[in-house]
Symmetry: C5
Subunit: 85 residues, 5 copies
């Protein structure tokens, strides 16, 4: 899993039907992880822009929604005060 | 998931039978994601060359078609006007 | 799988319900693996900060807990005296 | 998925029993994909050295053969005349 | 899949119970694959240090042992005399 900051969101009107209602957020891994690339994750916990989140990737993103074509999900919000650097 | 631009397509006549009818598109991640490599994804939403799309990778690409050997699928088209940089 | 050192932990109060009780550790791969990036893994074996651990990624992280959205798990602690460099 | 050129093959006599009869090909992604590393894929379509092929990775490689331990499969041969650069 | 050389092994006494009896080998991909990082794989074929092996990653590593938390397995030994460079 990775920890990242929500830096944006993206809207797709024409999409697979099962994705209706999904919120797609752009997440940037925190620098200390040394993961260079950003990813797009669906939000499961009500995360907002600027928040630090925990992202699960791969089939882990679908354990609660097996029929939805997503490969990354925000599954937690990191508590304020965590030392992330 | 990644957001990318459809930059081409590719044709395979001799292929696994279950792939019959699949349209294979070459997708280039948008620069802001800092993902260097392009990938090939099957199209599920009628995407065209030049469009910005949402791509699901891994087993997510098969949630609607479990018996087809694909590991990446275009599952949405990004709305015009989205700020992707 | 990778071998890494537990270099920190992270707390998430607002998270998917199935993650309740999970302990999220930050793991840094040992240098000899030449894996640049750190990752976040749930702990299954009582690992502590500073210990060297074995991490399974992907769906392997869920074989014992199929309904929990995690993609990395600490599944073993490397014995003291192992030559890891 | 990736497109690559078959650049070699490899033989393994001592292997998991379920792999009996599998042909292991070394595939080099085409330069325009900017994927640096080569991979080993089992052949499902009768590909030969020098041909350009479509490779599915991960569990996609096992949709037709669920009990065989492979993570990459050649699932199509790219038509001659395709513009791959 | 990758081809690599077994360059070491690692011992974990405190581990998930289902891992009892597993032998964890450190595998270095052959240079011609241009895969920089080493990985840890469980041995399924009696591989020894110095041998060249075929490694399956991801859920492929569990097709014969679905309940064991591993994400990489040595599934074959490359025949002597193979041209691996």
């Amino acid at each position: 899993m990775i920890i990242g900051k929500v830096v944006g969101s993206v809207v797709s009107t024409r999409k697979c039907e099962t994705l209706t209602g999904s919120k797609f957020m752009i997440v940037e891994p925190i620098p200390s992880l040394k993961v260079d690339s950003r990813l797009v994750a669906v939000d499961r916990v009500g995360a907002g822009i600027g928040e630090y989140v925990l992202v699960a990737t791969g089939s882990a993103a679908r354990v609660d929604v097996p029929n939805v074509p997503v490969d990354a999900a925000i599954v937690g919000i990191i508590d304020d005060g965590s030392n992330l650097e």
